[in-house]
């Protein structure tokens, strides 16, 4: 018997093409989710931080990010080689499993994009746009790429050597973005008026729309991570739906008990928390496990977002409370809820697998969180020294939309929170009038 030559599977490829587009849609979705949560005066800046991440990360990824993350292991499971820099050696016929390598690389690129964009929530309202443009590519190369190699790269130390499990990116996406967000908001310091002024979301319908798009795209994120149109993708898809729902319900339950009101922001946040937590675990836990993972994230994250007020760090849009905490919950619970039918081998503590898997998960979480925090803190400090990371007091007070982008999102009256231009006659009109 001869082994069949590797070949492209059109079904798998079709699904991964769709999944890739779904994951890319998550970043504009995130832009709306975050954009609605900030104040009127800096909504455009918030949207821009996400959109520009798409462009920056794509360029870096194609230049060498993909090769360093997914190229053959170059050193002890820590980093890949540079053989595929500029996507060298990869053409339409190159295969990764049953799908084109170029498609796999693009699918993974969309993960890198949203991870970088997620961090912007921690420093909303007060970061220099120019500094963000420098930060994103450097961070993608020094934090996202290595961690991705550890987890999914050939010979990566976390999955291939240690044996920890992470199906769709609890470690490289959720925990790195959360830990990096924490580092960066410590570098920048709190917003003017933190803990004194009301900084309530300026557009909750926008937040809900963004959360809806995120949830929609998350099916591509998680079910796409099966890298095929198969039963595992279906199971991951259903687990994703289930955990988003219990996350939403868990957060609302806490709000009703604690504050007396179930809020829309709570519903959106709970769904996102559940989705964050099921990301690493969607391809390893049973449906019961997924329901518990989502619920745990909804309940715990709704308390975790208030830590910033007690511990005095201004994580503007709760990247730590939702992504770091949710990511940790989901990654650790694999150690309890993993089932053989999903993992093909490893089992969690509750299914007779012993405590070993939980230990591996915990080690991976601690190392990735510490690495992302430390390196991001270093990058942030360097950028701050070199060019300043924080907008001036005047810019922050007036709003970044007007001062950085020369735009405002809404045409408000003087009582609005924006900073309307007093006489908004188009400059060209003025010129023509003068000449006449």
């Amino acid at each position: 018997m001869t082994l069949a030559a590797p070949h492209i599977d059109t079904g798998d490829t079709a699904w991964l093409l769709a999944a890739t587009a779904l994951v890319l849609l998550m970043t504009p979705g995130l832009a709306l989710f975050y954009g609605g949560m900030v104040r009127t005066k800096s909504v455009l800046n918030m949207l821009m931080m996400s959109f520009v991440s798409i462009a920056l990360v794509t360029v870096v990824w194609l230049a060498c990010g993909y090769s360093l993350a997914f190229g053959d292991d170059a050193f002890a499971g820590l980093i890949g080689g540079l053989r595929h820099s500029g996507m060298a050696g990869l053409g339409p016929d190159s295969l990764h499993g049953t799908v084109p390598t170029l498609l796999f690389a693009t699918f993974q690129l969309t993960f890198a994009i949203i991870t970088a964009a997620l961090i912007s929530g921690a420093i909303a309202d007060r970061a220099k746009f120019g500094a963000w443009l420098v930060f994103v590519p450097v961070w993608a190369l020094l934090v996202y790429v290595p961690v991705t190699h550890w987890v999914w790269g050939p010979g990566g130390w976390i999955v291939d050597r240690l044996g920890a499990l992470d199906f769709a990116g609890g470690l490289p996406v959720e925990i790195t973005s959360g830990a990096s967000g924490l580092a960066l908001c410590l570098v920048l310091g709190p917003r003017l008026g933190f803990k004194k002024d009301a900084m309530r979301p300026h557009n909750l319908p926008m937040v809900m729309l963004g959360a809806g798009l995120l949830w929609f795209g998350w099916f591509g994120f998680n079910a796409g991570s099966a890298l095929g149109a198969n039963g595992l993708a279906a199971a991951a898809f259903l687990n994703t739906l289930a955990a988003g729902c219990t996350g939403l319900l868990g957060w609302l339950f806490v709000e009703q008990k604690r504050d007396g009101h179930p809020t829309t922001l709570g519903a959106a946040s709970g769904a996102v928390a559940g989705l964050v937590a099921i990301t690493p675990s969607c391809g390893t836990v049973s449906l019961l496990g997924a329901l518990v993972v989502g619920l745990a994230a909804g309940v715990v994250c709704s308390y975790a977002v208030s830590w910033k007020f007690k511990l005095n760090y201004d994580d503007s849009l709760d990247v730590v409370g939702v992504h770091l905490v949710g990511g940790i919950i989901g990654t650790l619970l694999i150690g309890l809820f993993a089932v053989k039918e999903m993992t093909g081998g490893a089992e969690g503590l509750l299914y007779g697998g012993g405590i070993a898997q939980l230990g591996k998960q915990l080690l991976a979480v601690v190392v990735v969180a510490l690495y992302a925090f430390a390196v991001t803190y270093g990058i942030g400090k360097l950028i701050d020294k070199a060019m300043g990371f924080r907008a001036s007091e005047e810019q922050e007070h007036t709003g970044l939309d007007l001062t950085v982008h020369a735009e405002t999102a809404y045409d408000h009256g003087v009582l609005g929170h924006g900073a309307p231009v007093a006489h908004s006659v188009p400059a060209t009109t003025q010129k023509v009038t003068t000449q006449a």
Binding site: A198, P201, E255, L265, V305
Partner: protein, 112 residues
């Protein structure tokens, strides 16, 4: 003549308008307003963080009437705007020296 100013809850505006029409008051001016009295605003909760919102949305209704009608108009506004709950608003009256109808130049009560 008297200028009667009423600050009331926005959802009572229609009732006040109807009551004034029934009294034969021809015109009024309505402005969106915000402010607080003893009620001192309300609380909003975002991700568990409570925000105190001091200024509450209100409408400001202004109407100029003849001295003899002032008490009846005030009573009608109060009756129509009252819910019995905190934040119902205030009504006050000030003397008006003169009123001019811009279209015709009429002055005094004729301009009302």
């Amino acid at each position: 003549m008297k200028l009667i100013t009423a600050i009331v809850k926005p959802f009572r505006l229609d009732a006040v308008k109807t009551a004034l029409q029934e009294l034969g008051v021809h015109g009024l001016t309505v402005t969106e307003a915000s402010g607080y009295g003893r009620q001192r605003g309300h609380t909003e909760v975002y991700r568990g963080a409570e925000y105190r919102v001091d200024l509450v949305p209100k409408v400001r209704i202004e109407v100029v009437v003849e001295d003899a009608d002032a008490d009846a108009v005030i009573d009608a506004i109060v009756k129509a705007a009252q819910t019995g709950k905190i934040g119902d608003g205030k009504v006050w009256a000030l003397p008006v020296e003169t009123v001019v109808r811009v279209r015709t130049g009429e002055r005094g009560p004729d301009a009302l």
